[in-house]
Symmetry: C2
Subunit: 202 residues, 2 copies
DNA sequence: ATTTATACTGTATATATATTCAGTATAATT
DNA sequence: AATTATACTGAATATATATACAGTATAAAT
């Protein structure tokens, strides 16, 4: 996928916005109105550049005959899947992203930022199995009983959250695993987010 | 939402299909071509009827100015959620449908027909908890180890499938529950489908 | 040094398109 | 019995729209 110039990006954004707003693509004149061009040929040539670079297709002769290609259309509608590796934090950096899957607005009750691919069986009694995708909302506001993504230095785990006074307990849902105790002296402790849903691909 | 006539449904389907195929809505002439009408006014009057009934909006004067309303856009993209009640089969009949949730094409690897709302903990060791939504594909072709929706008379259950010779075993994933044995004398036994995925709403 | 891409204005025009008007006919509603 | 909705054909037309052509100017690539 060839890089776009700043102006070409603006035109592509304009097309996406127009479709979202109206349900159909803009005319050359519409693009000029939105972006302040005074000649329809300004829009025309940008469209041909976008076509040449593969971001749109144009049906010749058809009014509003602009079609966003999969490549350019998908980007705004996918959610990243991040691998839970023992050492390494689940950030949205490119190198940690396993893949993208199509986003679905109201699949879960609350919004979420990414899927975490679960490794190991430390939460099996909570019905969270190896390779499940846990929907994570990035937040540090968590309550007792929430299933949280916690980071201690470079180690990232998924556990039940339980705080009482100054002490925090991270509780696994599996008798074979140990509870983890956190206190104010513990360094490098951080709540990355909490689970708001789960998806399993059989 | 007012009911549509057969012809109006066809026109609405035609619009949806055209948008999916091309990325932009059809003209009156396009609709005529797809549905065999000989006058653009045939399309025009159907569009005005669809507008009046709230399925689309039309931007007057704009070419291809058809916009599917939220109501009509969702319908083809939702999947039913069916409650698993101890007595009663999970059919797609209206009275058994709990709600619809937005459908997402490639969420799971294989296609599925409905979500089954799980009651009870008979599959807890398989990570299937109360109120989980299990994605069910309607089929009777199942293999050993598949998690299946089985019906015995009016009773419907979710269990592991295991067949050997003439005998079929339905195995729970919970020591508190008993295995169920099926043989050729057993009447009213039927495999409704199998699990191809799971969604949990926290 | 020449070509190609970017980034526009400005004018012109063939045609794609929405939309109105005039009919015909059947079924449903008031 | 009169009106309204459905379901079209067929013709006409104003205008919305894509698109080509003629320029100007700068930056990048070959």
């Amino acid at each position: 996928m060839k890089e776009l110039t700043i102006q070409q990006k603006k035109v592509l954004q304009c097309i996406k916005f127009y479709i979202k707003k109206t349900g159909f693509p803009p005319t050359r004149a519409d693009i000029c109105r939105e972006l302040g061009f005074k000649s329809p040929n300004a829009a025309e040539s940008h469209l041909r550049a976008l076509e040449k670079k593969g971001y749109i297709t144009i049906e010749n002769g058809a009014s509003r005959g602009i079609n966003l290609t999969e490549n350019s259309a998908e980007k705004s509608q996918t959610i990243p899947v991040i691998g839970l590796v023992a050492a390494g934090s689940p950030t949205l950096a490119d190198e940690n992203i396993e893949k993208h899957i199509p986003y679905q607005e109201s699949l879960f009750l609350s919004e979420f930022d990414y899927f975490l691919r679960v490794k190991g069986l430390s939460m099996k009694d909570a019905g969270i199995m190896e390779d499940d995708l846990v929907a994570i909302k990035k937040t540090s506001e968590v309550r007792n009983g929430d299933i949280v993504v916690a980071r201690i230095d470079d180690e990232v785990t998924l556990k039940y959250f339980q705080s009482s006074g100054d002490q925090i307990k991270l509780i696994p849902a599996n008798d074979d695993f140990e509870e983890i105790y956190i206190n104010k002296e513990t360094e490098g402790f951080f709540i990355e987010g909490k689970s708001v849903g789960l998806v399993r691909e059989n």
